[in-house]
């Protein structure tokens, strides 16, 4: 909302440019929650991501959000599970482009490094209408930012840590009133030779992991340019390459290696009119994955446009279209896919405190209509005093997932007759805010959803094939709270969250299916996290903990993985400087208690580790 108001003032302010301060001129980014009324959205800004430098998106989601991350080992595949849904039920965007692999229909959070990202937002629940394909459990929105009027900025940061961790980050930016460029280069490396108890060997000896090395390099380039008083050009480019030794499951001695390379580029042109913003966007995403000698590549081309206008004080609307061409060049097949989608969002603000949205989307893929997805939402701040407020958020919507290229074309087994998965969900959330000596924010959300035509791969004869078989019903409660205040000269903050998630198979594969009525595999019913932070004149310290409850290995639940709780500790000082140059320092201990745990069955995870971060900001 802020950003939007902002953009309008940017458009308007150009008329009186002389009086505008440089710092106020930002690069336009449409706000994520502009039409997301009634939906839960949480965001982390650059400063909050600082503490996760050198780590992956998977780590921050697991430790600081209600999302469960299925981790296949240290630095290995990590996939998100929002509200008990599967990895393929999360849409992931980078600067507005959908970046899930079109062949797999999901993203590996381990190879989305925090170093390359300036902001992260999570949206929970069905948002097929707002965000399109795969936004069933929720969506992840990653962004890079550039700023005007900051002059020259540069920095170097270096991290050294346990198990061979050695990360280097460089950035440099140059910006004037109307032009901004920022470049980031990074390399992240870890030997990952952590000790663990090998349950696959007689006597369960403690051994060192010797096949989990991780190396990642990348470049991010952002550019923004005010072409004239009402046109802005913004581009971003991201190249990321990861080489991993694939950590074997305990009891196996595989030597698999995987290389993932992604090229992503986006060009946005914004045209600002008095009460509206036109956006023309074109983008390109190429994924290259080499697993041992098996090469799987895909390229997506995007062309999109939308028109966002403030019709009156009360009515706001956005109309848009996107065309996507996907070319898949996989180890066992080649396939193209074309998609066209139209979307429309309308917001009606009855008063400042009560607003409604209606979002609609229709996607057509390879000539087939995906389910039409409408959604309705409401935000109502129904009780306000000087220091307190209560806000109700509620929404109802549909979501969908188009079968992935692999689902449709994998040879052998691909099933071109698959139907899209379809979901329906609703949620109701209440947030209480109180400002005072201690500031309170307490929120509780109840959600319920069902997913039909859930696609699963089943062995049939000598190979596997996907079918639209299962139906799943999810419901749960998410609690999120924060408290902050001051004791003497110390600022403190406590954030907590707890999630209860019940995700049940309602229709199984056949009459033999023992999963009906049981919790989905690797979907903890209980999850919680908490962080306490203390800050005083440049010094900061935090202790965080997260708890993951029992979860089953398979859909019929005979084998349960024990719950675990980990603690992390951080210490930082950012007031060290020499002349104009600053030298922020920080130190982290992860898994302080050296807890032996596995997220997935027999996938070893590291015990206590240390990490030292040194930076130079010019």
């Amino acid at each position: 909302m802020f950003l939007l108001l902002w953009a309008f003032s940017f458009g308007a302010s150009s008329l009186i440019q002389d009086t505008v301060k440089l710092a106020e001129v930002e690069v336009y980014a449409p706000a994520l929650d502009r039409f997301a009324q009634g939906q839960k959205v949480i965001s982390w800004k650059k400063a909050e991501l600082e503490a996760y430098q050198g780590r992956s998106l998977g780590d921050i989601l697991q430790e600081q959000s209600p999302v469960f991350v299925r981790q296949y080992g240290a630095g290995m595949i990590a996939s998100p599970s929002f509200r008990g849904t599967s990895a393929g039920h999360t849409a992931v965007f980078w600067n507005g482009l959908p970046i899930n692999s079109p062949s797999l229909g999901q993203s590996d959070l381990s190879i989305l490094p925090i170093s390359a990202i300036d902001q992260v937002s999570l949206q929970f629940g069905n948002a097929g209408a707002l965000f399109g394909n795969e936004a069933i459990g929720g969506s992840i929105h990653l962004g890079t930012n550039s700023e005007f009027g900051k002059g020259f900025q540069a920095g170097l940061s270096q991290q050294i840590g346990s198990f061979g961790l050695f990360n280097t980050n460089l950035f440099a930016g140059l910006s004037s009133k109307n032009f901004s460029t920022k470049t980031k280069v990074y390399r992240e490396f870890s030997k990952n030779n952590f000790p663990y108890k090998d349950l696959g060997q007689i006597g369960t000896p403690e051994v060192r992991e010797d096949h989990a090395q991780f190396e990642q390099i990348g470049i991010v380039q952002d550019l923004a340019w005010n072409l004239n008083s009402n046109n802005q050009l913004k581009t971003a480019f991201w190249w990321n390459k990861t080489n991993r030794e694939v950590q074997p499951v305990m009891g196996s001695n595989t030597n698999d290696e995987q290389e993932d390379q992604a090229f992503r580029a986006v060009i946005d042109i914004f045209h600002f009119e008095k009460k509206s913003v036109w956006n023309l966007r074109t983008g390109f995403v190429r994924n290259e994955q080499l697993f041992n000698a098996s090469q799987n590549n895909s390229t997506q081309y995007f062309l999109a446009g939308d028109w966002d206008q403030e019709i009156s004080d009360k009515w706001t609307s956005k109309l848009g279209a996107r065309y996507t061409l996907t070319k898949g060049d996989l180890s066992t097949y080649q396939a193209d896919d074309e998609r066209i989608e139209l979307y429309q969002s309308t917001r009606f603000s009855v008063t400042e405190k009560l607003s409604f949205t209606l979002n609609l989307r229709q996607l057509v893929y390879s000539g087939t209509f995906a389910p039409f997805t409408p959604s309705l939402g409401m935000d109502w701040s129904f009780w306000n005093t000087n220091s307190q407020s209560l806000q109700l958020k509620t929404s109802l919507g549909k979501g969908f997932k188009v079968p992935t290229l692999n689902d449709r074309f994998w040879n052998p087994g691909g099933n071109p007759d698959l139907l899209p998965e379809e979901s329906l969900s609703g949620e109701l959330g209440l947030t209480w805010n109180k400002e005072g000596k201690v500031n309170w924010t307490q929120g509780l959300t109840y959600y319920k959803m069902s997913v039909d035509n859930w696609i699963i791969w089943l062995p049939k004869g000598s190979f596997w094939t996907p079918e639209n078989i299962k139906e799943v019903s999810n419901q749960g409660i998410e609690y999120q709270g924060s408290l902050d205040g001051t004791i003497a000269t110390w600022k403190w903050e406590l954030t907590t969250s707890y999630t209860f998630s019940k995700a049940i198979t309602t229709v199984g594969t056949d009459e033999n299916d023992q999963s009906v009525g049981k919790q989905l595999p690797y979907t903890p019913k209980h999850q919680a996290n908490a962080t306490v932070q203390l800050r005083k004149s440049g010094f900061s310290s935090s202790i965080g903990t997260f708890f993951v409850g029992e979860r089953s290995v398979t859909a019929d639940n005979p084998r349960m993985m024990p719950s675990f709780q980990l603690f992390n500790f951080g210490l930082g000082y950012d007031k060290l400087s020499l002349g104009k140059h600053q030298f922020p320092l920080s130190f982290q201990i992860n898994n302080i208690l050296n807890t032996d745990y596995q997220v997935l069955y027999l996938r070893a995870m590291p015990g206590r580790s240390y990490q030292l971060n040194l930076s130079i900001l010019l």
Binding site: L199, G200, Q201, I202, T204, V249, M250, G251, S252, N253, N255, N292, A293, S294, T332, W410, P412, G413, I456, W457, L458, P459, K460, G461, S462, F463, W464, T465, T509, N512, D513, Q514, S515, V553, T554, A555, D556, N557, P558, R559, Y601, L602
Partner: protein, 349 residues
């Protein structure tokens, strides 16, 4: 997915013949009598395990390896070989665990130098382990071998004898180890002392399983549309009679009833995915096949000689635990019950 398909091809168990000529007194233990149900486990999860069934009381004990050793089996269970007072659990994920069959307590292991072991045979004081060897870049296995371990309680591999691609079942006889070379349609005979292949017999079909009876070694072999039974003359190490039956899509899974009947699993694959239990009867020089049951997801077969019952395992798509159906010799279902993940074979003893 690809690896999963590869895992489909496999051997069963080296059932009854392992003990056929031994009259050793067995120590009485919890798991001494009954049927061991081998659950292969799911690829990437390594949750293979053994269940124990008392066929008379129908009492079923789950996950007996983990229950007795307080650690998971942590592997994909490919084969179980009972030899005197040792039970060898062969995991195609690269190890062999050795337990006492009476109480299932771990007594040794072979690991470290194995790649994808498939089966095992004991000769004197040596273990011979058939192993596909590592996959190459195109998932072929050009470096298959039979590994030699000195010592019946495991230890390290002392030698790898190169054999044809994808060796499956092994049979120990006299000073010889007979190898089913499944990919190149060969029977290879290893001299156990020299630890080298001394003779190779060429077949017209892919050999999967050995079965010895009355001094004759039977070889179960399959082509796309036929099942063949070869006999091997153990004294001359030459091929004898061949029986062929027109049964399409036979898998490697077979159970012998001790007479002249055997039960095999067939699977039509794409696009119909029809699986079946087929009984094959060899009378004189002719063999006839009868379809006993059809379905989908059949993954293992066994035969209880005492009660004349056929055991058919269904993997249920590896989505969770599998089920076992007990059939009469004519194919009617007596009962069904849940077992572990990917049930693939039975050891009746």
């Amino acid at each position: 997915m690809k690896l999963k398909q590869l895992l489909w091809a496999s051997a069963l168990l080296s059932v009854s013949f392992a003990c056929s000529d031994s009259n050793d007194e067995k120590p009485l233990g919890k798991y001494n009598n009954g049927i061991l149900i081998m659950n292969e486990g799911n690829f990437g999860t390594n949750d293979g395990e053994v269940y124990h069934l008392n066929p008379n009381t129908e009492e079923l004990l789950p996950n007996i390896f983990e229950a007795e050793n307080l650690r998971p089996f942590a592997g994909l269970l490919e084969d179980m070989v009972l030899e005197a007072d040792r039970l060898y659990l062969v995991a195609n994920t690269g190890k062999v665990e050795i337990v006492n069959p009476a109480d299932f307590k771990s007594s040794g292991a072979v690991s470290g130098e194995l790649d994808q072991p498939r089966s095992l045979a004991v000769n004197g004081s040596k273990l011979f382990i058939s192993d596909y060897g590592p996959y190459d870049a195109s998932y072929a296995t050009p470096d298959s071998y039979v590994a030699v371990v000195n010592g019946l309680d495991g230890g390290t591999v002392s030698k790898k004898i190169e054999v044809s691609n994808k060796p499956e079942d092994l049979f120990s006889y006299g000073n010889y180890i007979i190898v089913a070379g499944s990919e190149e349609n060969k029977i290879e005979i290893i001299d156990a002392t020299q630890e080298a292949v001394i003779t190779t017999l060429d077949l017209e079909a892919s050999p999967k399983q050995f079965y010895a009876e009355d001094g004759i070694l039977w070889v179960y072999a399959v082509t796309a549309d036929e099942v063949l039974f070869y006999t091997v003359n153990l004294s001359s190490l030459t091929l004898g009679t061949t029986y062929s039956v027109p049964v399409a899509n036979a898998t490697s899974r077979i159970a012998f009833d001790g007479d002249d009947d055997m039960y095999i699993l067939t699977s039509s694959g794409w696009p119909d995915y029809n699986d079946a239990v087929v009984s094959i009867d060899i009378e004189g020089t002719t063999a006839t096949a009868t379809e006993l049951m059809t379905g989908s997801g059949f993954y293992g077969i066994g035969f209880d000689d005492d009660l004349d019952q056929i055991y058919v395992a269904n993997s249920n798509g590896f989505q969770g635990n599998g089920t076992v159906s007990v059939l009469t010799e004519t194919g009617s279902v007596i009962r069904s019950f849940e077992v572990g993940r990917g049930p693939s074979g039975f050891l009746v003893y």
